[in-house]
């Protein structure tokens, strides 16, 4: 069951990457990156159990915190002048990334 859950998480991560590459706007990509990060936390915890090394959980905790701070940082940065695409609609969002 652990292996099955790991594979499911990997599939979800692949779907998230698809959305990150497709995503019409900048914020879709940020959402995809954030979700990829939270799924990585789950994947690390699962892998720790699959390999029988629960020390991996420390890495998962650190990863959760770093993911949070990096997403908030990118969002803060995206507010600043010059980072935003000139007019944000479905077609022109591509340039922003």
């Amino acid at each position: 069951m652990l292996i099955a859950a790991t594979i499911a998480i990997l599939v979800v991560m692949a779907l998230t990457i698809v959305r990150g590459c497709m995503g019409p706007t900048l914020y879709d990509r940020i959402l995809a990156v954030n979700m990829f990060g939270t799924k990585t936390v789950l994947l690390i915890s699962l892998l720790g159990f699959v390999m029988g090394r629960p020390e991996f959980l420390d890495i998962a905790i650190v990863y959760a915190l770093i993911n949070f701070i990096s997403v908030i940082g990118v969002l803060r940065f995206s507010d600043s002048f010059g980072f935003k695409p000139p007019h944000q609609d479905k077609a022109s969002g591509e340039k922003g990334s």
């Binding site: 069951m1 652990l2 099955a4 859950a5 499911a8 998480i9 599939v11 979800v12 779907l15 998230t16 698809v18 959305r19 706007t25 914020y27 879709d28 940020i30 959402l31 995809a32 954030n34 979700m35 939270t38 799924k39 936390v41 789950l42 915890s45 699962l46 159990f49 629960p54 959980l57 420390d58 998962a60 905790i61 959760a64 915190l65 949070f68 997403v71 908030i72 969002l75 995206s78 507010d79 935003k84 007019h87 944000q88 969002g93």
Partner: protein, 112 residues
């Protein structure tokens, strides 16, 4: 006997968590715009993560491991609404308009 019960409940939790995660992943592909996709991401952040972590907790009797899993769970639950709100607000501030339901617009219920 106890072991078997724990294993079965852990397997059920892991299965539910994987299913919810997959649903969130499908939702993030299928939904039409950013704001609706955010709700799909919310599913994977709340119940799916809790289910998988609870499933892992039932696998290991070690107190340290359980406390670390509880910590990860609490962090996920505290961090996820903050990030969602920050993303929604940043998107709204940059002028990304949500795709609203047609019926609502016609009735004039739509606000700001």
């Amino acid at each position: 006997m106890m072991d078997i019960a724990l294993n079965i409940s852990s397997a059920i939790c892991l299965f539910l968590g994987s299913f919810l995660c997959l649903s969130g992943g499908v939702g993030i592909i299928r939904f039409p715009d950013f704001y609706t996709r955010m709700h799909a991401a919310g599913v994977t952040d709340t119940l799916a993560a809790s289910m998988i972590l609870i499933g892992l907790m039932l696998q290991n009797p070690d107190a340290i491991v359980i406390s670390k899993l509880v910590m990860i769970l609490l962090m996920t639950l505290f961090i996820s609404p903050t990030t969602s709100h920050a993303m929604a607000k940043a998107a709204m501030n940059s002028g990304l308009l949500p795709l609203l339901d047609k019926k609502e617009n016609k009735d004039g219920v739509k606000s700001s």
